[in-house]
Amino acid sequence: MGKRLTSYKDGDRVKITKIDAGHGALINLINLGLNIGNIVEIGRKSNMKGPVIVSYQGTEVAIGYGLATKIIAEIT
């Protein structure tokens, strides 16, 4: 079952199943390769509600905490 991106721990490989963001943020995420169905690895999650860093195919992207809670993913 899908959970928020923020609830995974470092090193988890997850598949994005749903993005609940507005159109602007959505396009931004898609453009950076964070589309539904894509698999990303969680890395360097700061413990103080800071941004979550996800990486895939050699790219690292920082996603603000608030936005990360709107991305639903499941473990692969």
């Binding site: 963001a21 507005g22 159109h23 602007g24 943020a25 959505l26 396009i27 931004n28 995420l29 898609i30 453009n31 950076l32 390769g33 589309n35 539904i36 169905g37 894509n38 360097r44 700061s46 413990n47 103080m48 509600k49 800071g50 941004p51 860093i53 195919q57 050699g58 790219t59 690292e60 992207v61 920082a62 996603i63 603000g64 905490y65 608030g66 936005l67």
Partner: protein, 642 residues
């Protein structure tokens, strides 16, 4: 002929551009908005070519002004234009997604596999010939930082322009292709201009890219739109997903397939020191220790250099000023005018060379190595507390050098609201001119601790102001989405050019106003207006702020040039020993007031340019109000503690 460099952020595009055109390039704005593109000319095989560097964009699916401007520009380029698509070969699959979109435009094009050394390091071997066969245009391996392959790239671009080498069309799933076919028919019927590639437009319809679709409104009637929407719905029905996801998913998969086809990953990624750096720099605790140390060192270096250089310049300009006094003693008006002019020039040089130049070099260094993105990451949750996000930190750091480039840097922010709030906060950050007041007055006559306290008070006020403004303008901020680039050794040319561009903003906007300001000030003195201005302002300066009336004119001067408030305070008080005429409380409240009140005219001009006159007025009013409140608070609270 025209070459347009297109690539994703951090692909090394600017390094290639700078390598080719050098410092001669001119930054221009896209019509109507303040997103910059850079243009220059080169000569290749006796042909004059314009080279245009448009802002890095991840895709042609537009989400902000910059991307929209870039897309519109590419869509409407002249017939003889060639797109030079620069890819970061080390993240080939992702880079190809933009390439696929550019291919849809069906314009002459070449592809550069840049950072090929980085791909090698990762063990990614790319068959460029095979890639070239698949996409139908020449593919050249380049290493921008070492200048390798660039000449060949531009030669191929010239050839592609002459031969009109167009990319292949890569077909998608059947339902998309059927939709595309029926759209082609409609567009032809309705005489949509052919320079907008029909296939590209079709995909834009599926992507629901309103800002581009709107172009079609002139050609389509309500009935056509209904027909199109019906078709789009049909496509969405099958996987039960919005069509914008579908199109980008297809592209993502296509890019990955091409990647698998042309590249081999020979060994797992060899870790080097750069992969370990982030364990320190982005560590939840150590990261901040490093951040503070790096910023502290940066400022320390700048002020050490500045401290050594500044007196040298000031001395010489003082000599020049004295020389003028003896030469033109009998034409007092001209003398005042010239003195003002020379002081304006000298003041500018006194800021640029000692402070701004080292500041901008250091900042470009932090930016180009990739560290600034880490700063945005570290500071993001702090910024969220005041309704902004990590990206706002860049203009604010610049503001500690000079407010003008700080304000101009707010254009990296996507939402107009974030831009407005960040610009307001940046205006209130003590720039290097205000720093001379803080340390020259409070630091010298009270204590260094008291001077540093002003910076702390400043940060607290920034926090409150930011919080209040974001409460007053509630809007769901899209939040931070930021690529954390790999660490790079910055290219010297790119570093130099970036520094020069920022410096140019000071020279063209702030400096002329600084010179005019200095002339006006000299003329005020020439016509003996000082006393009348002081007495006119005294209800405010003495009545409200509790300062000696003679400071009135220095505050007016401070609007022209902040650091003049300090120099002129000495002459207004007729002593350099300020303590004999002002109490420490008065000194403190004067300094606080001078730090926050009306921004200098160059800043106001920059605010008007970047936002608009109304917002510039609002910010000016707000900072003035904050300055009065703080100065009055200091006036009454300070004596209690002393």
């Amino acid at each position: 002929m025209e070459f347009i460099l297109v690539g994703q952020p951090n692909c090394g595009k600017s390094t290639i551009f700078n390598e080719v055109v050098g410092y001669k390039s001119v930054a221009s704005n896209f019509p109507g908005i303040t997103v910059k593109y850079t243009k220059s000319h080169i000569e290749l095989e006796n042909q004059k070519i314009s080279v245009i560097d448009i802002p890095g964009t991840y895709s042609l699916q537009t989400s902000d002004e910059a991307e929209l401007a870039a897309t519109k520009y590419i869509l409407n380029v002249p017939e003889d234009a060639v797109i030079i698509n620069i890819l970061d070969a080390s993240v080939l699959s992702r880079s190809l997604e933009l390439t696929l979109q550019l291919m849809e435009l069906q314009k002459p094009m070449v592809v550069a596999l840049n950072m090929i050394d980085e791909a090698d390091r990762k063990g990614i071997k790319i068959d460029s010939e095979k890639l070239s066969k698949i996409i139908g245009v020449p593919v050249i391996k380049t290493n921008g930082r070492k200048g390798k392959g660039i000449f060949q790239l531009f030669k191929q671009a010239l050839l592609a322009g002459k031969e009109k080498t167009k990319p292949s069309i890569i077909k998608g799933p059947a339902n998309i292709e059927n939709f595309s076919e029926s759209m082609l028919k409609i567009m032809k019927e309705k005489r949509v201009p052919e320079r907008w590639n029909y296939r590209f437009m079709t995909l834009k319809l599926l992507e629901k890219d309103e800002s581009i679709i709107i172009f079609l409104d002139d050609y389509f009637k309500k009935r056509d739109w209904e027909f199109i929407n019906e078709k789009v719905k049909k496509i969405e029905n099958i996987p039960q997903r919005n069509s914008e996801f579908i199109v980008s998913s297809i592209r993502h998969n296509m890019a990955f397939q091409i990647f698998e086809n042309v590249a081999k990953v020979e060994r797992s990624i060899k870790k080097d020191i750069r992969d370990k750096l982030d364990n320190l720099f982005m560590h939840p605790f150590l990261g901040y220790v490093f951040l503070i140390s790096i910023l502290y060192m940066t400022f320390w270096l700048i002020f050490t250099i500045g401290g050594i250089c500044e007196p040298l310049f000031l001395d010489n300009f003082e000599k020049l000023s004295n020389l003028l006094s003896t030469k033109f003693a009998d034409i007092p008006f001209l003398l005042s005018f010239l003195r003002g002019f020379v002081q304006g020039i000298g003041g500018g040089i006194g800021i640029v060379i000692p402070f701004l130049l080292p500041f901008f070099i250091m900042l470009s260094l932090l930016e180009d190595t990739g560290y600034l993105a880490r700063v945005a990451y570290l500071i993001d949750n702090l910024m969220h507390k005041i309704g902004l996000h990590g990206m706002s930190v860049v203009p604010m750091i610049l503001g500690y050098g000079c407010t003008v480039p700080g304000i101009l840097a707010t254009r990296i922010l996507k939402s107009p609201r974030d831009k407005f709030i960040t610009a307001t906060l940046t205006t209130m950050i003590p720039c290097s001119a205000r720093m001379t007041i803080i340390f020259g007055l409070v630091g010298f006559f009270i204590s260094i601790k008291a001077a540093i306290l002003i910076y702390i008070i400043n940060i607290i006020i920034l926090g409150f102001t930011g919080k209040l403004m974001s409460k007053a303008m509630p809007e769901v901020s899209p939040g931070l989405i930021l690529e954390i680039p790999k660490y790079h050794l910055p290219g010297v040319k790119a570093l130099f050019n970036k520094t020069w561009f920022r410096l140019k903003e000071f020279i063209y906007i702030a400096w002329p106003l600084l010179i005019i300001g200095s002339i006006i000030l000299e003329l005020i003195e020439h016509f003996n207006l000082t006393n009348s201005i002081n007495s006119f302002l005294s209800p405010f300066t003495s009545g409200i702020l509790g300062l000696p009336a003679v400071v009135g004119v220095t505050l007016i001067f401070g609007i022209m040039r902040k650091e003049l408030a300090l120099i002129l305070l000495f002459s207004a008080l007729k002593t350099k020993d300020v303590l004999t005429v002002m109490t420490p409380a008065q000194i403190y409240s004067f300094t606080i007031f001078a730090t926050f009140y009306i921004p200098c005219i160059a800043t106001i001009a920059a605010l008007a340019r970047e936002l608009n006159w109304k917002k510039a007025g609002l910010i000016t009013g707000l900072t003035f109000l904050i300055a009065i409140i703080l100065a009055v608070l200091v006036r009454f609270i300070f004596p209690i503690f002393i």
